[in-house]
């Protein structure tokens, strides 16, 4: 850099480039210069362990059973949950009877989350193409986390019917309760504005939308051989989620390079990275914290990719930060 920059003294206007120019030309050194100050501050003004403030708005979509708009900084996500009916008789390969109740949802594919990034939210994801790798992997991560956390209880999704005793059934035929159909939840996640850390925001939007999901009362009408629903709000029921899993993502900025060994390099762990930082960080860690129970500290998932800077100690620190973040989200979302 020029001598104007090095002495740090305020220079006459016009001799130096504005911040944005440096950020664009040399993003790595720009972020490094911010972090190596006495008090490390990121280019966006946050300290390394600062998360952005979340805001949640629930029930703004008319045609959804549940919906939420989540904003984390400049990332904005809209999520709508739409319930449709899957008839048990339509399932081509019904699961065997010995499938655990908890696995039923995964086995039948009753939760269908999809994230759409091609909404013009960023120049990197322009519409007209099939979903990119990022969108596909995000959808899949959300699906697997939904299934792993057993968030939705199978009893909320099954529509039961008690078979009446038939006259000619004989003594062996008793009144039997069967599942005639299942609710399938289409969880459509649209990214309206993108500024990094899509997963945390999208996951929070899914949770908030599911929390607000109301399913109408449904029953099997034996005469019409169809499932009918009641349009009355009074008869509908709100879905009960078990727990409140919250994802917190960290990225690692390191000066290590093929020419500089990791031991000699400086590294920082950045909480809740924005898209400028995401571009520069290879290593990522996502911690998913659930509700704490007795004998269970709530750690649901750890996903770490791309490097070896976060060791045991740093990992513990991240988990503690994720716990704090969980409390912050709980204040916004309630429940848990």
């Amino acid at each position: 850099m020029g001598p104007d920059m090095a002495n740090g003294a305020p220079t006459a206007p016009g001799l130096s480039f504005p911040r944005e120019t440096f950020a664009k030309l040399t993003p790595g050194p720009f972020l490094h210069a911010h972090l190596k100050q006495q008090e490390p501050t990121r280019a966006n003004g946050r300290s390394p362990e600062d998360f952005r403030k979340p805001t949640v708005n629930i029930g703004s979509l008319t045609h959804s059973n549940g919906s939420a708009v989540v904003r984390v900084g400049d990332t904005a996500i809209v999520c709508g949950v739409r319930a449709e009916i899957l008839l048990a008789s339509d399932i081509p390969h019904p699961p065997r009877d010995d499938v655990e109740d908890d696995d039923m949802i995964e086995e039948l594919g009753l939760l269908v989350p999809n994230i759409e990034l091609s909404t013009g939210c960023s120049p990197a994801h322009l519409p007209g193409n099939a979903p990119g790798t990022l969108a596909q992997s995000l959808s899949y991560r959300i699906l697997s986390l939904l299934n792993a956390s057993n968030l939705v209880s199978p009893s909320d999704l099954s529509i039961r019917y008690t078979k009446p005793q038939t006259e000619d059934g004989g003594p062996s035929e008793e009144a039997r309760e069967v599942t005639k159909a299942y609710w399938t939840l289409y969880i459509d996640i649209l990214c309206i504005a993108l500024d990094g850390n899509t997963f945390d925001a999208a996951w929070a939007a899914v949770i908030a939308a599911l929390q607000s999901t109301v399913l109408p009362k449904a029953w099997w009408d034996a005469d019409r051989e169809a499932i009918l629903c009641s349009p009355l709000t009074a008869e509908a029921h709100r879905m009960q989620l078990s727990g409140l899993p919250i994802a917190s993502t960290f990225a690692v900025f390191s000066t290590a390079s093929p020419l500089k060994r990791l031991e000699e390099a400086d590294s920082w762990v950045l909480a809740d990275p924005d898209s400028f930082e995401e571009e520069l960080c290879k290593e990522n860690l996502t911690v998913v914290m659930g509700t704490k129970h007795a004998g269970n500290d709530g750690l649901l998932r750890l996903e770490k990719t791309g490097g070896s800077v976060i060791g045991k100690v740093a990992m513990q620190r991240c988990v503690r930060m994720a716990e704090d973040r969980w409390r912050e989200w709980k204040g916004v979302l309630g429940g848990g």
Binding site: H34, G128, A193
Partner: protein, 326 residues
């Protein structure tokens, strides 16, 4: 339906939207038009909602009549559209030379935008809307100022207007007749895209605004026949039993030009009156558009002057200049 390998698909058995059995003792109320024939619905427009795009805007017409709280099924829909503009930016190297700015428009409904769930692939109706929007905008942009460049206008309809009242279709079809809702959506798309173009700083000859008018012939007490034919501004299709014709225009007020016109149905001898009313609706939308743009401009100018005078507040969490070496 063909399975999409890049998305998570519905269970292979296929699902159906719920069928509602309305009890006899809870009557469904059709929303009624309470505003005057020449009154536009209140609308909300804001620019700069997507920071990562060159320009963006959000458009909303809130729900008009209150919903029936005892019913889970909404009686009418609001209209919510976001638009982002990317560009002008250089065309890819392999693209042919273009002396003008190449405009691409893209309109997509969100899966939850309508009463029946929509797919992720664009259907013919959405592509058609994109074409209409492109014609409306092409006449406004001064394309010669950006040779060899492209500009993308991307619209996501978060909630679309309905084509009719769902009760008319027995609650099954979701009131899919006539496609009148698309006209309101197109008018919204034109207005919101215009605001986003201004936000992106792309040179235009004027601001284009969209307006709809319709010729309706509502009968008394929910019958389709009889009644007097009249022209109304900004129709909400669920409020009418019988829409005979509709017209959307993209209108430049200061030049008194129409860049886009889409008429549907049989207006008979009243074609000209219908277009005039649609233009009137567009002029009404333009006042909101101008207000939103002026407000956003004021904010931008305020920010710029603050930076110019060096009035950076040294708050915690503010972006600060740092020393770069190396």
């Amino acid at each position: 339906m063909q399975a999409d390998r890049r998305r998570i698909n519905a269970p292979s058995g296929g699902t159906a939207p719920p069928i509602f059995a309305t009890p006899k003792d809870t009557p469904l109320r059709r929303p009624t038009r309470t505003r005057k024939p020449d009154e536009h619905r209140k609308l909300f427009l804001r620019t700069g909602v997507v920071p990562s795009a060159s320009g963006s805007a959000y458009y909303e017409i809130p729900l008009q009549s209150p919903q029936q709280p005892e019913l889970l099924v909404p009686s009418s829909s609001s209209l919510k559209i976001t638009c982002s503009v990317h560009g002008p930016r250089p065309l890819p190297r392999n693209a042919a030379f273009s002396p003008n700015l190449l405009l691409t428009t893209h309109v997509k409904f969100a899966p939850f935008a309508t009463r029946n769930r929509r797919g992720y692939m664009r259907d013919a109706g959405e592509r058609d809307l994109g074409m209409h929007l492109e014609t409306a905008l092409r006449g406004v942009i001064i394309g010669e100022r950006w040779p060899k460049s492209g500009c993308e206008v991307v619209i996501t309809v978060l909630e679309g207007e309905e084509d009719g009242w769902w009760g008319d279709a027995g609650g099954q079809e979701g009131g899919r007749a006539g496609g009148w809702g698309m006209m309101g959506v197109l008018a919204g798309c034109i207005t919101v895209a215009s605001a986003a173009l201004v936000d992106a700083g792309i040179d235009c000859v004027d601001m284009v605004s969209g307006g709809v008018a319709a010729l309706v012939q509502d009968g008394q007490d929910g019958t389709k026949v009889g009644g007097e034919a009249k022209i109304i501004l900004d129709p909400s299709p669920s409020e009418h039993q019988n829409i005979r014709a509709g017209c959307v225009v993209g209108y430049l007020q200061s030049r008194d030009e129409v860049t886009e016109m889409w008429m549907k149905g049989d207006a008979g001898t009243q074609v000209e009156a219908l277009v005039d009313e649609a233009v009137k609706a567009a002029s009404l939308t333009r006042t909101v558009l101008a207000e939103a743009v002026r407000e956003a401009m004021g904010l931008k100018m305020g920010k710029a002057s603050e930076e110019a005078t060096g009035g950076l507040k040294e708050d915690k969490g503010k972006k600060k200049d740092v020393v770069m070496t190396g």
